[in-house]
Assembly symmetry: C2
Homo-oligomer: 343 residues x 2
DNA sequence: TTGAAAGCGATACCAG
DNA sequence: CTGGTATCGCTTTCAA
């Protein structure tokens, strides 16, 4: 009979069976018009009979493209990151691109750096969420002409989707000031590691600016730093709320941290918002559920826009001139039930 | 001087520059020992000078493996799915495998079916979360000898990680019965589409079983079906709570739906748990935050185990005999503050 | 319109 | 030990 089917059918098998050349099969596969209908039919029959499916790997090699978009995200454990990834997925889902997820939290930094950027040929484009690549990586990315877009992190070399964190921090703090608060504390992130982007720091800046604009003296003991986890934030907040001169309001650099503050208040028997006002940042889904007043940033939208922009770059080809545009998304305070005038 | 560097350096460039054959370069690259130190040094120098990085694509083609694990997830918008993916990511992060995410919610079914399983050569293994593949796909997966593991969905052909949904539903309902409730309603999913797994249906079964065991007559008007979204569940719950004979307790097939029920109660001014008890299912993070009594299933753990099992299969090679073991993870009721004896 | 052949960039076998 | 060459499965000139 025929050659024994060792493994899945290849384009050669199809060509042989249809009695044509591989080139012709390829043309049919790619919807080229310059194929006689009769020939096309023969090829289609062979494909059907052999249950042939083209190998995307071989295709990748030949075309020098992967149809994959890489999404690099630190700390995939955070709600905000997930929300952004959702935005990305919503765009890629309607495109021919697949989504490769690189969670650098889960792996050793060195290994990651090696693997991810090994050549940049695992994906046709990279979306970096909330992290700024070190300079040497930037250089390699450019050398590899790999389209890149940053979300929630600024970099002079790449287009980026950001928000005005300073302004966000300012808005939150102003809201508290306008309610009449004067003793306002801040709970934020630790100083960032080389990879992560320091959005929290900018929010601190906004906090300080709002205070000084209102003529309120900043108290060093009111500014605390920890990690994003609400557990850690809770501990920090407990310290804060045990101060001899206790703050009447807390602005947290993220909703996760704000939730920790809320827990701390509950533990200490401090009523919110009567005795303590709390403002978060992000407006993750939980915020609405627990009635947390917060600064909303368009998380899903940022992922969506980032993906759109990246797809555009990818489509534009490697030779286009990419200007590192900075797209700024709006922020706004969403007032719910964790803030009120000081008791 | 040398050939102009059109694109990144290849293994040929390295071989030429080092004055050796490509075979030797490949050996060095792959850490083979049978290379003279001097030769190795020359190759390493050339690699360094050329900033050469091997092409993973070409590697894939030659090796016939991708070092990618595909994770197929419907409804990536749900917390439980995300939690599972986290579990998967935690395992893959410490492995040489990358994670490709296929969100079939975001794309057209037909397109998906074509793309995802086109040949199965985009990944070395597939993890299917909460969905059962249609029979023809199963056949293709087997034909392609692509290792597969199901999480939160049973199938006679593949190993799977599951929980006992019937028992979960039973436990939840029993908890309510033991509190003294007799008018217990159920809010669950719609009948499943061909793809999605019907865990909700099994939970209904458990609900019914618990009722009958307690000698409580099941009321058809107390069993409602909608979607997973809490918005829809809220609407359904409002209907339910407006019934002439209103239930004193509701068991929801997921925490998302339970949150909808909670909202409904708030809207109607019904106090929880005094006038209405609510039990959810999953124990997503939010559940703890809002104090929801729920049936805990190990979401993260299920992803973790699934990934571990899959990696094992992948390592085992294509020729091993895979018995479709079913691994069952435990469920338990977590009692918080949304359940109490009927008022 | 179509077939033959040359890449794409690695791995692996086979002599030497 | 090492170089040469076939191979992986597809796309794409280049002639015919």
């Amino acid at each position: 009979m025929e050659t024994l089917p060792s493994g899945p059918a290849t384009i050669n098998d199809v060509a042989a069976r249809a009695g044509v050349g591989v080139g012709t099969v390829s043309r049919v596969l790619n919807g080229r018009t310059n194929v006689r209908p009769v020939t096309r039919a023969k090829v289609l029959d062979a494909i059907e009979a052999l249950k042939y499916r083209p190998s995307s790997i071989a295709r990748n090699l030949s075309l020098r493209r992967t149809h994959v978009i890489g999404v690099v995200v630190p700390f995939f454990t955070s709600h905000s990151a997930v929300e952004r990834v959702r935005g990305v997925a919503s765009v890629l889902g309607r495109s021919p691109y697949d989504l490769m997820l690189f969670d650098i939290e889960a792996e050793d930094r060195r290994e990651h750096a090696f693997r991810l950027f090994d050549r940049g040929d695992r994906s046709d484009g990279l979306l970096l969420l909330s992290l700024v690549p070190p300079d040497d990586e930037v250089e390699r990315l450019r050398a590899a002409r790999l389209p890149c877009v940053l979300v929630d992190a600024p970099h002079p070399g790449f287009p980026s989707i950001v928000i005005d964190d300073v302004r966000g921090g300012e808005l939150a703090t102003k809201h508290l000031i306008e309610l009449g608060h004067r003793l306002i504390a801040f709970v934020g992130d630790k100083p960032p590691d080389p990879f992560r982007f320091a959005s929290s720091r900018d929010r601190t800046l906004g906090y300080e600016r709002a205070l000084s604009q209102a003529g309120i003296e900043a108290r060093p003991e009111f500014v605390r730093e920890g990690t994003q986890s609400h557990q850690v934030a809770r501990g920090i907040a407990i310290d804060l709320l045990r101060l001899p001169q206790r703050p009447t309001a807390v602005f947290a650099a993220s909703d996760a941290q704000a939730l920790g503050v809320l827990e701390a208040a509950r533990i200490l028997g401090i009523r919110v918002p009567q005795e303590l006002s709390v403002v978060g940042f992000d407006d993750v889904e939980v915020a609405a559920l627990v009635g947390l007043t917060t600064v909303r940033q368009p998380l899903f939208e940022s992922g969506r826009r980032g993906a759109e922009l990246l797809l555009q770059l990818v489509a534009g080809g490697a030779d286009q001139v990419v200007e590192p545009v900075v797209e700024q998304l709006p922020v706004e305070v969403v007032i719910r039930s964790t803030t009120a005038a000081p008791g």
